[in-house]
């Protein structure tokens, strides 16, 4: 049985605004055939103010699809169409106190029905441009479609980059080979379409998953926001970690901190603290332009054994990608020093 929040259960067992709205003047009908879910959203919009005065739904779908639909009708009530259009699927999931990763598509369906209903009212044609696929990463609720889009639109060629852009693979890593498979497949297609050179394309087996660092832990599946960006949005990270990765990869071939940490400290370079600080400063200097471009900065505060204490500032603070920025910085510093260190951010 799914781990539904009480709110999901409540909206499923006692859905509000279910049924047909006879006075509707905006209707959105959407569905996902693979999942068998379908939703009809009916709204009554005031032509003067464009305020949604009434909304009802009919849903063919599972418990969370029904709950998401019902929640949607409550969320949009009293909003203008323009306000309503800003609602994302994440807002619907948040309203319900979170959805299991496998069920995020139910909230996407609500988002789409709303877009379709507004388009219907405005006499526009709405077409669904997103395709979902089988769930690849359970920790972060990332499906195949999302990985494909991230790989295509950002020309990703490494599993690490996929993790940085989508979070897939940032947890238990049991999904690594599936991520790798999707990446290799899409890269191959991109080579065929002339979007990528043959040498750039990722090939299965070229990254050893054991060399991947331990990333941020996912939040609990329920009651949280497993996917930070709506599935339908094109993902545009605040900081281009791709660029960071490239910079790091260019200088050194050493593996990551985690891998290095696992190995006995034989043959590793030894530095005095002053030497260390100097090299770290150099590393930060090299990343700085990338951070600055996105309106952020990173300052060295202290070096305590293997811990490198830094302070993020500007746009980096509180940004969703902060933990990934830290990872990028860490990678860079490790590459520079050739010894394992841990980058710890302070406020």
């Amino acid at each position: 049985m799914w781990d539904y929040t009480d709110k999901v259960r409540d909206y499923f067992f006692n859905p509000v605004n279910a049924g047909v709205l006879e006075t509707a003047n905006a209707v959105g009908e959407v569905g996902a055939i693979s999942c068998g879910d379908a939703l009809k959203l009916m709204m009554k919009v005031d032509p003067e103010t464009e305020i949604i005065e009434a909304a009802k739904f009919q849903t063919f779908g599972c418990g969370s699809a029904i709950a998401s639909s019902s929640a949607l009708t409550e969320i949009i009530l009293g909003k203008t169409l323009d306000e309503a259009l800003k609602i994302t699927n994440q807002d619907i999931a948040d309203f319900l106190g979170g959805l299991p990763p496998e069920k995020m598509h139910c909230s996407v369906m609500g988002y789409e029905a709303l877009q379709a209903a507004v388009a219907d009212y405005r006499g526009e044609v709405w077409s669904d441009d997103h395709e979902e696929g089988a769930l690849v990463c359970k920790c972060f609720g990332v499906d195949e479609g999302m990985i494909e889009r991230a790989v295509r639109s950002n020309k990703l060629t490494t599993p690490e980059a996929v993790t940085n852009f989508t979070k897939a693979g940032g947890g238990c890593l049991t999904c690594f080979e599936r991520i790798e498979g999707v990446l290799a497949k899409v890269n191959e297609e991109m080579v065929g379409e002339g979007l990528l050179s043959f040498d750039e394309a990722y090939r299965i087996g070229s990254v050893d998953p054991r060399s991947l660092k331990q990333k941020a832990k996912p939040k609990a599946a329920v009651g949280s926001t497993p996917v930070e960006t709506a599935a339908t949005e094109t993902r545009k990270p605040v900081i281009s970690l791709d660029a960071l990765e490239k910079a790091a990869a260019a200088t050194v071939v050493v593996g990551s901190a985690a891998e290095a940490a696992l190995q006995p400290a034989i043959g590793l370079p030894r530095y005095t603290t002053v030497q260390k600080i100097k090299l770290i400063e150099e590393a930060l200097e090299e990343i700085r332009p990338v951070l600055k471009k996105d309106g952020g900065d990173c300052e060295l505060i202290d070096v305590d054994g293997a811990n490198v204490i830094v302070k993020l500032s500007g746009a980096c603070v509180g940004c969703q990608m902060a933990s990934m920025t830290i990872n990028g910085v860490q990678e860079k510093i490790v590459a520079k020093l050739g010894i394992p260190v841990r980058v710890v951010p302070v406020k």
Binding site: G19, V30, G31, S34, C35, D37, F60, I66, A116
Partner: protein, 402 residues
Amino acid sequence: MTVTPVYLDNNATTRCDAEVVEAMLPYFTEQFGNPSSMHAFGASVGGAVKAARASLMKLLGAEFDHEIIFTSGGTESDNMAILSALEAMPGRDEIITSAVEHPAVLSLCAHLEKTRDVKVHVIPVDGRGLLDIAAYRAALSEKTAVVSIMWANNETGTIFPVAELAELAKEVGALFHTDAVQAVGKIPLDLKSTQIDMLSLSGHKLHGPKGTGALYVKRGTRFRSLFKGGHQERGRRAGTENTPGIVGLGKAAELALIHMEDEVTRVAALRDRLEKGILQRIPNCFVTGNPAERLPNTANIAFEYIEGEGILLLMNREGIAASSGSACTSGSLEPSHVLRAMNIPYTAAHGAIRFSFSRDNTDADVERVLEVMPPIIEKLRALSPFWKGANEAPATFNPVYA
């Protein structure tokens, strides 16, 4: 008011019988010996394993006790049989299976096709779940290493004519394996009178412990072990025996034989009454599979225009447990491959509910389900954009599909 729970999901797993648990307990404590040991601690345990093998042999109608290999369950047995056959049948690199097998067979076949250049023929079924025998005959050849076709389907209960299918396989010299995980303990079997070479069974489907099972391998069948190691199970399944589990499985087999009569009469009657009652009380629903050749305990009913998970959630609130072929309960996004293979429209496949009985069920269980189902279905249909009313064509509803 506290409601007594009604468990109708016995094809998923069964309650381990109290007698089974009792029989197992000593093998965790005083009877802890390793059956391979020379001393007295081992010897008495060895005797218990032998007895368990004998009762399983009786349940299956096997000719010899060494035809039983104890395993960790249905999945292991299925993998063991197919992988063994590929290795033991040189010059043959094709598998024949059906579209409605359990993933323990289908995923393995897909994997072998991808990684070992094995050709897999997947035999389709018709709308009632009957196997396309012409396609099966056409697929059989001198290249067939093994046929793996289930005895009874876990979702619909439909029974395949495996004895005849095995004879056809024999004609081309192929091995015949059947996944009988759902059939063993529910219908009488007599393997010695068939040409079936290998058969998988699982303990937890017949009121035995989970993580136990067996593979029947007919005497003289070429066999290669899956695990390499000690000489246990005559070298065919290395690893110290799960003695408590084996003893439990033996006891479960013994009890299954005792209750067989009940299973095919009373339990079947309960199932029939539930099925009839639902069809009478609820419009726009139908039985899937082949009612003429079916397990006595299984009913699979598709409720049109609604989705299974919602039904299960509402049933669960009433204390009733069943399962669904809907996509959303599996997390796979795909509706049941079994119902899809049968070409059931998706507006019905997603609303298919499987009720599976066991000897633990009673008349009162049926009453209770018949009482709660109509309002549950009605409630969900009121929410459905497809629903227009009883025996009406579905509402015109053409969503934009992703």
